[in-house]
């Protein structure tokens, strides 16, 4: 059960970088290597063993080909030698603080600590009464967590994850004037929510504003003018109606 897992682990970046270090060590011909070494167990090369400090891996000057044989393919090591170690170190900057993998569906707490959203969510569920940041123990909240959207992060979520979607980002609209508001196409639009009498009042005042005649919209000038006049009488009617209503409200 555990054996295949360890084999798998040889493909993890951390192990790979360990292999690189070992390889670099051997190239220099140094025999002392502190800590733990990977030994070839039989021919499968899957066993990971610790030895007590300051023991060398296999003989002093191990040929590169033998180092490569530690990996089942040998190709991987070459790739790593081309500088993947530096990359993996850079990537580890963006590792989730809980699963230690590169953060997936990344979120950042207000205290600045990075997590996968599924990981953080599960942590919040395990301690519902004491929601703290695992790293700095600052108080955290699901709503105050900021998602990080990278350039290619719009991938579809794995449907197997039953984790609720991570909280959405908060954004504010830029403050900008509204050019051509109302007059651009000869339309005048009015949106508003208000108490009944006031709403009526504002809209009727808006209607009273003069509109320039729109060329091309109506065929024939007279037609347009008559329409305008019609509208004006209509608006006047509404205005009077509004005044009557307000008066009724006030005196009734």
């Amino acid at each position: 059960m555990e054996q295949p897992e360890l084999v798998q682990s040889l493909d993890l970046p951390s192990t790979s970088s360990l292999l690189t270090r070992r390889a670099a060590c051997n190239q220099k011909g140094s025999t002392k290597a502190k800590g733990v070494s990977l030994e070839e167990a039989g021919s499968d090369g899957s066993e990971v063993t610790t030895t007590s400090s300051s023991t060398s891996l296999v003989g002093g000057n191990m040929p590169d080909s033998k180092v490569a044989s530690l990996d089942s393919t040998g190709m991987e090591l070459e790739e790593i030698n081309k500088g993947n170690e530096r990359e993996s170190k850079d990537e580890s900057l963006y590792d989730c603080n809980i699963c230690l993998d590169t953060a997936k569906d990344a979120v950042v707490t207000m205290c600045g600590h990075l997590y996968c959203w599924p990981c953080l969510h599960q942590w919040l569920l395990t301690r519902p009464n004491n929601k703290v940041c695992p790293v700095c123990k600052s108080s955290i909240n699901k709503d105050k967590v900021i998602p990080l959207y990278g350039r290619n992060s719009a991938r579809r979520d794995d449907p197997r994850n039953r984790v609720p979607p991570r909280p959405a980002g908060q954004r504010t609209e830029p403050e900008a004037g509204y050019p051509n508001f109302g007059f651009g196409d000869g339309f005048f639009m009015f949106f508003g929510i208000g108490g009944f009498p006031f709403g009526l009042l504002t809209s009727s005042i808006n209607i009273r504003e003069r509109r320039p005649p729109v060329p091309g919209r109506y065929r024939g000038r007279n037609n347009g003018q008559t329409r305008n006049e019609d509208e004006q009488t209509l608006s006047r009617m509404f205005l009077y109606l509004a005044f009557i209503l307000i008066a009724w409200l006030l005196f009734a």
């Binding site: 063993t49 993998d101 599960q122 695992p134």
Partner: protein
């Protein structure tokens, strides 16, 4: 209209309340299904990562007994050396870490094992350790490495070798699992 708004506002927290207790219930339901296997992968993956970093850059005086780890990934034996210049200089101790499949959300079960159990005011003679990060102060951002470091620091800061005052009673009455003990953390000095 206003009433409608109020209703919809009320509904949102309710649904949250309903969904949250459901979440922890799902893993037991799916005990034989795929989700648990996925979980298994996740905690095993993290343990692998920790093992690799512990092997690659071990803290001073700490070594992993990889043979024990190979036999069972959820039980690690870790050797700790007493630091020079402390009361435990020259002594070797062995720690047993037991992980369950809720790791790292649940803390590991950590005890001293073997013939030499340190004589320390926070270590009981059966190997149980009174250390807050092993229970209520546990955080998934902690690791085997940081637990080892805390224990080493706890040993190093000791000024008098003695057992906890309630040692005999506790050892007789306690559960095998130190996490079942309701610890009372009152002494930060050691």
């Amino acid at each position: 209209m206003l009433k409608l708004f109020k209703k919809s506002k009320d509904k949102i927290p309710k649904s949250e309340i309903i969904t949250e207790p459901k979440e922890p219930k799902t893993p037991p339901v799916s005990k034989c299904g795929k989700p648990l296997q996925l979980d298994n992968c996740r905690w095993e993956r993290r343990l692998h990562k920790e093992l690799m970093s512990l092997i690659k850059e071990p803290p001073p005086g700490v070594t992993v007994d990889t043979e024990s780890v190979q036999q069972n990934l959820s039980e690690w034996k870790i050797n700790i050396k007493g630091f020079e210049g402390t009361l435990y200089e020259g002594e070797d101790f062995q720690l047993l870490f037991k992980f369950n499949n809720k790791y790292p959300f649940d803390s590991p079960e950590v005890t001293f094992i073997g013939s030499n159990i340190p004589v320390h005011p926070h270590v009981y003679s059966n190997g149980h350790i009174c250390l807050s990060i092993l229970t209520e102060d546990w955080s998934p951002a902690l690791s085997v490495q940081s637990v080892c470091l805390s224990i080493a620091s706890m040993l190093s800061s000791c000024r008098e070798k003695k057992r906890p005052p309630d040692n005999t009673l506790y050892v007789k009455t306690c559960n095998k699992n130190p996490k079942k003990t309701k610890w009372w953390y009152h002494d930060d000095s050691v």
